[in-house]
């Protein structure tokens, strides 16, 4: 029962990643693609937590921690480059 509900949640998260991938393909300029990158990162954190549940190992959550910290840095660097150049 619990696993069936969690599989449904995982399929919804995958659909969210595909919708933001559509924005990445279509987006008119760089800013739209950066937003798509940001949203994909945030969705990936919860997908990794779900993978950790299905594998049953707590060590996988460290990868989600690294994601939440490091993608922020690259998004900030891209935003500063867009604004006035590093």
């Amino acid at each position: 029962m619990v696993d069936k509900i969690l599989i449904a949640a995982g399929i919804l998260m995958i659909l969210g990643i595909f919708l933001s991938l559509y924005r990445f393909i279509k987006g008119p300029d760089v800013s739209n693609r950066v937003i798509s990158f940001d949203v994909m990162t945030v969705i990936s954190v919860s997908v990794i937590a779900l993978i950790a549940h299905f594998a049953g190992r707590i060590i996988y959550l460290d990868v989600a921690l690294v994601y939440a910290l490091l993608s922020f840095v690259s998004v900030v660097v891209i935003a500063r480059y867009i604004e006035r150049g590093l």
């Binding site: 969690l6 599989i7 995982g10 399929i11 995958i14 990643i17 595909f18 991938l21 990445f24 393909i25 760089v30 693609r33 950066v34 990158f37 994909m40 990162t41 990936s44 997908v47 990794i48 779900l50 993978i51 299905f54 594998a55 190992r57 060590i59 996988y60 460290d62 990868v63 690294v66 994601y67 490091l70 993608s71 840095v73 690259s74 660097v77 891209i78 480059y81 150049g85 590093l86």
Partner: protein, 81 residues
């Protein structure tokens, strides 16, 4: 079941992003697409039960490579102006 769906979806996403990175004229968009490829490749490493490789790929492939490429792009733009 769940691992199969996730692996197939992430491989499809990586394929689409690699095609974007090749066929786009703008360098910035190609660099961002490369960063997203590193992101999802790290999730694939996690599905193959290698969390240490996934951590390294997430920090190097998605973080450091994007930052260094944008630094170099900034230097090139300054010398061209």
């Amino acid at each position: 079941m769940m691992n199969m769906i996730l692996a197939l979806s992430f491989e499809l996403i990586i394929l689409v992003l690699a095609i974007i990175a090749i066929h786009n004229k703008s360098l910035k968009i190609a660099i961002i697409a490369t960063g997203v490829i590193g992101l999802f490749a790290s999730v694939l490493y996690l599905l193959l039960a290698a969390p240490d490789v996934a951590m390294t790929e997430a920090s190097i492939g998605s973080g450091l490579t994007t930052i260094i490429f944008f630094y170099v792009l900034n230097k090139i733009r300054k010398t061209n102006d």
